[in-house]
Amino acid sequence: MGNVSIIDQLKGQKIHDLLEQGKRVDGRSFDEPRQLTIETGVIPKAEGSARVHLGDTEVVTGVKVQLDRPFPDRGDNGIFICTAEILPLAHPDAEPGPPGEDVIELARVVDRGIRESGMVDLTQLVLEKDKTVIGIFADCSILDHAGNLFDACSYATTAALLTTKIPKWEMQDDVPVKVEGQESDAPITTIPASVTMGRIGEHIIVDPNADEWFCLDARITITTNSDGNICALQKGGKDGFTIEQLVKCGETSISIGAKIRETLKESKGAGQ
């Protein structure tokens, strides 16, 4: 924290100067995300999985499906839980141990985007109301941290869910029994796409890279669903946004999100 090195200060100044000239350090336009590549089915033992490169940021998400008790106030819904971990091999500053506030926020933002979009129809994952439901557990492992983990984890989780197979269970004498060899696609209703934007000075840039990420004044992650509506949003960082900037970010998230959604759809076909 803090005590910024002279190199970082110079880098920050350079990024700022370039933005004033309408340029970004890596030559992208302001509303252009980095190259996104998605590989699905990378962990055959998981019921769904995806490995995502967003520029130099790399994330693997595995989805495990198992029976669990429902949340007490949601007895007629299955469970969806998303977690994230920045593996110690992902960045020199990453340390093993319990998650810090940054990682907790990351996992909760990814979770919220998928949950609030209603991507997975949890009502179809109930075996016995209030007692036994199907739980979908999506765990993101960050392998290389080069900025904007929010979108990388969100795309990896969404792509993994799109390929997730739900095993079949049947109740026999009040005990759930797995029916071997029978499985179905996860009940998917929409494809959420998150778009994270950063503000540096008066400039708003989509998908900040590692160098940009560390000199953001503020950031915002907006998730849209297949209808082009906004379903989740989270502001972070040390400063704020004006109303006009937020409205603009909303529009950007819809247009960029639509392109991302196409890539997510294609990834499903490619992995099978």
Binding site: E116, G118, G236, L246
Partner: protein, 245 residues
């Protein structure tokens, strides 16, 4: 949030909500500044059925020392819910939700506090939710902001807070607990009224682009109402003819 099944009438034909409010009407809000003896600054807020205390210590020495920054002061924030604050007992250890809220409240206040004047020090904000209702993070942020001002810490602006949301297909101000559970969207907002800057914004639930814009504007209008109550809390303490201090 998907609009869960409920018998509750969220909005009747006269535009009246389940607790009798109009769509642009906040719940009853009361703020009192300077309620704790030991803290350098403090505030108590009642926001609907929320009852929340905020205490501020600092600027003071940083422990552990390695967290200190030679360029600027740092801000720390703990948002905590008492075990008895909700229907079902909450385990006292901080949950992931509380850790996230602590972080977003800290980042909402940071732009307002002139930490650069106090290098190597920390300002600690402790928020205790004694009773929780919908919109506790906004109420907590509003109280914390008054507590910082009460501590005499230099600030660029007050940070006000209020939520807006979508209930029965209508954008409404200040979503309460029932509306949050049964409604379609909830958007808490923190806002600096003089600098016209939004420093906290989150959203759960689906909004069209038009609704999104309206929701932000509605929440900001609510923040401006809360701002007046925050100012009154401070003037009541400091300019009440020496009655309180």
């Amino acid at each position: 949030m998907g609009g869960r099944d409920t018998d509750l009438i969220l909005l009747d034909e006269n535009g009246i909500r389940c607790d009798g409010r109009k769509i642009d009407e906040p719940r009853k809000i009361m703020i009192k500044a300077g309620v704790l003896k030991n803290a350098n600054g403090s505030a108590y807020i009642e926001f609907g059925d929320n009852k929340i205390l905020a205490g501020v210590f600092g600027p003071r020495d940083v422990h552990p020392k390695h967290l200190a920054n030679t360029d600027t002061g740092i801000l720390r924030c703990r948002y905590h819910m008492s075990p008895f604050s909700v229907e079902e007992r909450k385990r006292p250890a901080p949950s992931r939700r509380e850790i996230e809220i602590s972080k977003v409240i800290k980042e909402a206040l940071k732009p307002a506090v002139m930490l650069e004047q106090f290098p190597r020090t920390v300002v600690d904000i402790f928020i205790e939710v004694l009773q929780a209702d919908g919109g506790s993070r906004c109420a907590a942020l509003a109280a914390a902001s008054v507590a910082l001002a009460d501590a005499g810490i230099p600030m660029r602006d007050m940070v006000s807070a209020c939520a807006a949301g979508k209930v029965a297909d209508t954008i409404v101000l200040d979503v309460n607990n029932e509306e949050d559970q049964a409604g379609q969207a909830d958007m808490p907002v923190g806002y600096m009224p003089n600098m016209e800057k939004i420093t906290l914004i989150q959203l759960d639930g689906v909004l069209t682009p038009e609704e999104y814009k309206k929701c932000v504007e509605t929440a900001v209008a609510g923040c401006k109402l809360v701002y007046e109550i925050q100012k009154k809390a401070l003037t009541d303490k400091y300019f009440s003819n020496g009655e309180n201090n």
